[in-house]
């Protein structure tokens, strides 16, 4: 619930706040809206959110994280925490903070009324990071952005703007962490990503929210011959929702959205993706794997739109799910909207359980039931996990997925 106690962001131009009065009092879309039909918005609605920008985490080693290399930017409760961060000066890479900027941050004018959480983000913006990569700069070092919520009921609205200029490349790793000691914190994050001609971005996202909430909106705009690979790993969270909009605006682009999500007891993890093929001669690939435990709820809703005249598009969408327990639920909705004829598009969705014969085979080779199931999960997620080329990171993700 958004109450008067929350302050509008001083970072954003004041006039934009009028649009946001709808959030006062009740907040959020209703379940009747198609886009939100499976979301337990009740969970969010009953929490009286507060502003709290205190620093709680003393040391990153206290958090369950993989080994971090390269630049480390830590946002805690929506504020940049310099004590936990490490910024290395790298040629061609410019990092700045919206709070340091002398001008007010421009309010995103193209948001619609239905973009609830983007609107919320814009008006209550806590902090934003702007990452610019110069033309032709290939940034070898990974940029890690940690977004931690560590206070109860804390509403965090953060934003990252990424600009990749022509022929540049970047590897961005985002971590959305709900500290294990905090409850009902809510990270509402916005990624605004612009990839210019021939540039390439790898975006790894790791979400481990524990008893907190996370809504993450990604808007990716691709220029000609650019490439984006986005891998999202969601291991825990009371309410985790990813909305990815990938606008392919130039020809010969490569777009890839992958993910593994594993909601367990009382958890809800939802991946909504939209790939807009506005122009011809592009390829997109989507692969999401869901593993649902306990009474967890997993959602995959992927939409590919091939617009008029966007000929010679190849778009492939795949969603596979495993339900591990009696109460586990999956909602899968892979959608295709095609307005051009010379295309190759397909999608598939399967939901099931482990193959008993395969489990027996593993056990007959002396592998315990528990270990057999782990191996099966490993096999199930392997094709997505191997998209990350860092072994440490892979092992970490696997460990978190198996042990959550």
């Amino acid at each position: 619930m958004i109450t008067d106690k929350l302050n509008y962001s001083p970072l954003v131009k004041a006039e934009s706040n009028n649009a946001l009065d709808q959030f006062k009092g009740t907040l959020y879309p209703s379940k009747k809206e198609e886009e939100w039909r499976y979301s337990p918005l009740k969970k969010l609605r009953k929490i009286p959110f507060i502003n709290d920008s205190s620093f709680v985490v003393k040391n990153l080693s206290l958090l369950n994280l993989p080994k971090l290399e390269g630049n480390i930017l830590v946002l805690e409760n929506g504020r940049f925490n310099p004590n936990l961060s490490f910024i290395d000066n790298i040629q061609g890479l410019n990092i700045s903070f919206i709070s340091n900027s002398k001008e007010n941050y421009p309010y995103s004018t193209n948001l619609k009324k239905e973009d609830y959480f983007s609107l919320l983000n814009s008006s209550y913006l806590s902090e934003g990071i702007v990452i610019r990569v110069d033309g032709n700069a290939k940034i070898e070092e990974t940029v890690n952005v940690l977004n931690i919520v560590s206070s109860n009921n804390c509403l965090v609205n953060t934003k990252i703007d990424v600009f990749l200029n022509e022929n540049s490349s970047l590897h961005l790793k985002q971590y959305f962490i709900g500290n294990t000691t905090s409850k009902n914190g809510f990270i509402n994050h916005l990624n605004n990503i612009s990839i210019k001609e021939n540039a390439s971005l790898v975006l790894d996202k790791f979400q481990d929210l524990n008893l907190n909430f996370n809504i993450s909106n990604d808007c990716i705009n691709q220029g000609r011959s650019s490439k984006v690979i986005s891998n999202t790993f969601s291991t825990s969270g009371l309410f985790t929702r990813n909305n990815v909009t990938n606008n392919v605006n130039g020809e010969h682009c490569h777009s890839e959205l992958n993910g593994v999500f594993s909601p367990s007891e009382n958890e809800y993890i939802d991946n909504h993706t939209l790939i807009n093929h506005f122009v011809a001669n592009c390829k997109s690939f989507e692969n999401f794997k869901g593993i649902v435990k306990g009474n967890g709820v997993g959602v995959f809703n992927g939409k590919v739109i091939v617009h008029e005249n966007a000929q010679k598009i190849e778009a492939f969408q795949n969603n596979k799910n495993i339900l591990l327990d009696k109460e586990s639920i999956i909602y899968s909705k892979p959608e295709l909207e095609i307005y051009a004829d010379d295309v190759k598009c397909s999608h598939g969705s399967t939901t099931g359980q482990f193959d008993d014969e395969a489990i027996f085979y593993l056990r007959a080779r002396g592998i315990s039931l528990k270990k057999s199931k782990e191996l099966m999960i490993l096999g199930f997620i392997n094709e997505v996990i191997k998209k990350c080329n860092n072994i440490d990171y892979q092992d970490f993700i696997i460990e978190r997925l198996l042990n959550n």
């Binding site: 639920i329 899968s332 959608e335 969705s349 939901t351």
Partner: protein, 481 residues
């Protein structure tokens, strides 16, 4: 009914709607508009019992509180429900026992449609319940069916002669609260078909009904109720053609199927309502609610070939309530010019070991929009439920659209749900290959499309398969991009 190359050539020369003509029979019409009095008028005209009048009135009350749905992927001008006449019946109404008594005008109509009753009677053993506008005029083979205890009559007759059966089952699968159009139908339905197959009886012939919209400005609110009692079997055919009109016509039917324990219902439809002209003027709005419920080890199989209507909104569904019950949906939907179709199915798995199969083949041409929308829901108790769905779309031009909106809701871990869909253009290599062998482009397309749709066409009874193939060809004329 054979279709020759000569026929094809004629069709190619004459690309306008084939069955566009109006039968000139005087009609008795209700005044235009909808209010409680009209509902009462319809009921009293039909001499209905009190419970049915009350049912209509309740439905009307609910309908007034509802909004016309707008979630489907179609755009059209909403019908003005106050500008429709809700009741029309041919004036020369009398009991008919043989074809001789049928109005010669009607017989001529049937000849034009290519569904001569005599011929069918002799050759294919099909009993035809011919619906002209809203009231049944002739029913054949009735006596033969009667020997087996099969009831096959108009809905109105059933209300008079078998009120207990109608009251027991009507609205049990599709309650009047179900949706906007079902509520409307429940309030103002004019007539339709009723069928009851007794326990253990295997209906020896395909039952079929031909629908036609005839009166200009007359909404059609058909109601079909089909009950297959335990361990019985029936195959039911439904086909529609409509005359050419410039104004849009509304068709909001309700079809309820009840397949009791170990029974099987096969329900086939060829739908060819007037689709509007090349410019998108006119055409029928087809907003139909079709649903069946399955008992223990029973089966319902929907097969549909949809080529007509300006706007189609239709999801023949199965509630798989009984353990080991089976639901099937086979569909070919063709859209051309400015047609819009949003069609698919719902498979609701409730019982254990239930199984469903969905095969949908969409073909879009011209500037049309063709959507598959389907729901597969595996309920909490549906242990070992299985579903397989395959939804393919074929695009003929670069101005049409093909869309797939599957909803998969799985709430039981022992279930297996598989969905596959592909969208592609008609194969240029295939076309070239055919043409190189001397087959014209039109014919080649028809060949390829028929091959593409074969999996579904094969599910149709023979009598329909021929007609359906012909319809596919006609529907896709001039569709090459």
């Amino acid at each position: 009914m054979s279709y020759t190359e000569k026929d094809l050539k004629e069709d190619l020369d004459n690309k306008s709607y084939e069955f566009g003509f109006v039968t000139d029979i005087e009609s008795e019409k209700a005044p235009v508009g909808l209010n409680e009095d009209i509902v009462r008028l319809i009921s009293s005209k039909k001499n209905e019992p009190e419970w049915l009048l009350n049912y209509r009135l309740k439905a009307f009350e609910v309908w007034q509180t509802m909004k016309e749905p707008n979630w489907s992927h179609v755009e059209y001008e909403k019908p003005d429900f106050q500008n429709i006449s809700y009741y029309a019946a041919p004036k020369k109404k009398k009991e008919l026992k043989s074809l001789d008594e049928v109005d010669p005008e009607l017989l001529k109509t049937m000849d034009k449609l290519g569904i001569s009753i005599e011929e069918q009677k002799k050759l294919s053993g099909v009993a035809v319940d011919f619906v002209m506008d809203s009231v049944s005029v002739a029913t054949s083979f009735k006596e033969k069916l009667g020997e087996l205890g099969i009831i096959f009559c108009s809905f109105s007759e059933a209300v008079q002669n078998h009120p207990n059966l109608v009251q027991k089952y009507m609205g049990t699968v599709i309650p009047y609260t179900d949706n906007y159009y079902a509520a409307l139908n429940s309030a103002v339905f004019s007539d339709g078909s009723f069928c009851y197959i007794p326990k253990g009886v295997r209906c020896p012939m395909e039952l079929s009904t031909y629908f036609r919209i005839n009166e200009s400005g007359t909404g059609q609110f058909e109601r079909t109720l089909l009950i297959a009692d335990e361990s019985s079997y029936v195959s039911y055919l439904e086909g529609c053609t409509a005359p050419q009109r410039d104004e849009n016509q509304l068709h909001a039917a309700v079809v309820e199927l009840i397949s009791l324990d170990q029974a099987e219902i096969k329900y086939s439809t060829v739908q060819n309502w007037y689709p509007g002209d090349e410019k998108g003027v006119g055409g029928v709005y087809n907003f139909v609610t079709k649903r069946g419920i399955c008992g223990y080890r029973s089966k319902i199989s929907w097969t549909q070939v949809e080529t007509g209507s300006a706007v189609t909104w239709k999801y023949p569904s199965c509630i798989l309530k009984g353990d080991y019950s089976v639901g099937e949906f086979y569909s070919v939907a063709v859209t051309n010019n400015f047609q819009q179709a949003d069609t698919g199915t719902k498979m609701i798995h409730v019982g254990k070991n239930t199984k469903s199969t969905i095969i949908s083949k969409g073909i879009s041409a011209g500037k049309s929009q063709n959507s598959y929308r389907g729901l597969v829901k595996i309920g909490k108790g549906a242990i070992n439920a299985r579903n397989f769905s395959q939804c393919d779309s074929l695009l003929m031009t670069d101005r049409c659209g093909a869309h797939t909106f599957p909803y998969i809701e799985c709430e039981n871990p022992s279930a297996t749900v598989e969905h596959e869909a592909t969208t592609s253009k008609i194969g240029e290599e295939q076309l070239f290959y055919c043409m190189q062998r001397g087959i014209s482009e039109e014919k080649a397309i028809s060949l390829i499309v028929n091959g593409y749709a074969k999996e579904v066409l094969n599910k149709l009874p023979m009598e329909f398969a021929v007609e359906a193939q012909k319809l596919l060809e006609i529907s896709l004329e001039g569709s090459v991009g």
